[in-house]
Amino acid sequence: MSVEIDYIAHNNKFTNIDSKIKSITAISLILIALILSMPIVSIFVLLIAIFLTLFAGIPYKFYLKFLSVPLIFSLITFIFMAFFFGSGDILWNSGISFIVIRIDGLELAINTFLRIVACFSSLGFLALTTPITDILNILSKLRVPKLLLEIAMLMYTTIFLFFSQIEAMKNAQSTRLGYYGFKNSYRSLGVLISNLFFRSLDKSDKLQISLDSRGFSGSFHIYDR
């Protein structure tokens, strides 16, 4: 999933557009939806975000997959808020004492749901069209401490190595019935994670050596598009 998103962020029609423009667009869309907090505005923002993302040539299947997780969560939130919130007139009574839908609760639920959907699709636009390196670059211009960004940068490169290691280890474990049954899965997952931790410490030594041997002076220079 993460590997795929990195590839897509590097290969779409908007990759070469100045990342400042993309991030300002996304952030201002989020802020408009958040501060105005009106259903009509949220729908408008949502449509703009979807249009921009698909216009950038993001495969719509991947876009749907990316949005599905937050969408499911926001639907749960919507149902939850509609049923439990509010104190006004009762719109619909299920017959069970406290499960009722009230008008103001439903209004709040709809408003919040649309706001969340609008905001995360705007965030999705930024995430899918802009590589992480560009986002870190913008953050450095915003005077975010360099140390933080360096660690973030080193972290980002390491994540992908870990994912491939996990895949290999998980395969090895499951071919030996490591995930058969509840107790086994716990043991296997625990062994996998502790092993990963040793490997990560080992990896950090090697990373430091490779950084030193290339004359790492404490800052990464990222090509600014």
């Binding site: 958040l34 995430a127 660690i151 994912f163 043991r187 625990g190 994670i193 040793f198 990896k203 404490g218």
Partner: protein, 228 residues
């Protein structure tokens, strides 16, 4: 656990950013001091941050049938201390927002407060307290991870009910707490158990590493030395 992008009204977003920034700034200051002394620690921090991120992408088999992911906060905080863990959690949360659509940019402040500050701090405190009493470190790490998780959920519930005081703060809090109690306590126990398994792996294979990080109490240090 993660508060989604756009869920909180804007003034609460600002509020949680204001609360979280000083702690993060202190954490960065601490990391700076460490990295100035030993430049090698930068790669160690980066790799352990990546470890935390990867942990959050693994699914725990959970009792309720649903799957959830470990946060790794308890482990991170006991290994590196709460201030450092909070900075790592900030980066992890930023990556989660951008790469996995968990959480968000505007709710980053609130999420950092619950998952990056309260959780690790509680876990670290509990681990230190229990360790002083001389209890087996596996038991202390269980309670550290379990309570760290639990208080993270409590904090999230408080944050949500502050943002949506409908009809009042206390009644909203009781609703949120009720839902979290049903869904999240099993997950917190699951993470606690998993952390113990990881911890056993760490202590049995490479105890000298934990000694270097100064997390085991002296009693267990000596016993592990004599065994090996």
């Amino acid at each position: 656990m993660h508060i989604m992008e756009g869920f909180l009204p804007w003034y609460w977003c600002v509020f949680w950013f204001v609360v979280s920034i000083p702690v993060i700034a202190y954490g960065i200051y601490k990391i700076k001091k460490v990295t100035d002394e030993t430049p090698e620690s930068k790669s160690l921090l980066a790799v352990s941050g990546a470890f935390m991120f990867v942990l959050s992408s693994l699914k725990i088999p959970s009792v309720t049938g649903s799957c959830s992911h470990p946060t790794g906060n308890g482990l991170g905080a006991t290994l590196f201390g709460p201030a450092v863990a909070s900075v790592l959690a900030l980066i992890v949360l930023l990556f989660q927002a951008i790469l996995l659509a968990h959480g968000g940019l505007t709710t980053l402040g609130a999420n950092v407060f619950s998952m990056g500050i309260v959780g690790p701090f509680v876990a670290w405190l509990i681990y230190k307290l229990l360790n002083k009493t001389g209890i087996n470190s596996a038991i202390s790490i269980f309670f550290a991870a379990f309570l760290g998780d639990l208080l993270t959920y409590v904090t999230t519930a408080i944050q949500l009910s502050l943002a949506f005081p409908q009809p009042s703060f206390t009644s909203a809090l009781s609703v949120f707490m009720g839902i979290f109690a049903v869904t999240q306590i099993p997950l917190a126990i699951a993470e606690g158990l998993l952390t113990v398994v990881i911890w056993n792996g760490l202590t049995s294979y490479k105890p000298y590493l934990l000694e270097k990080l100064k997390v085991l109490n002296p009693k267990e240090n000596s016993s592990s030395k004599t065994e090996s």
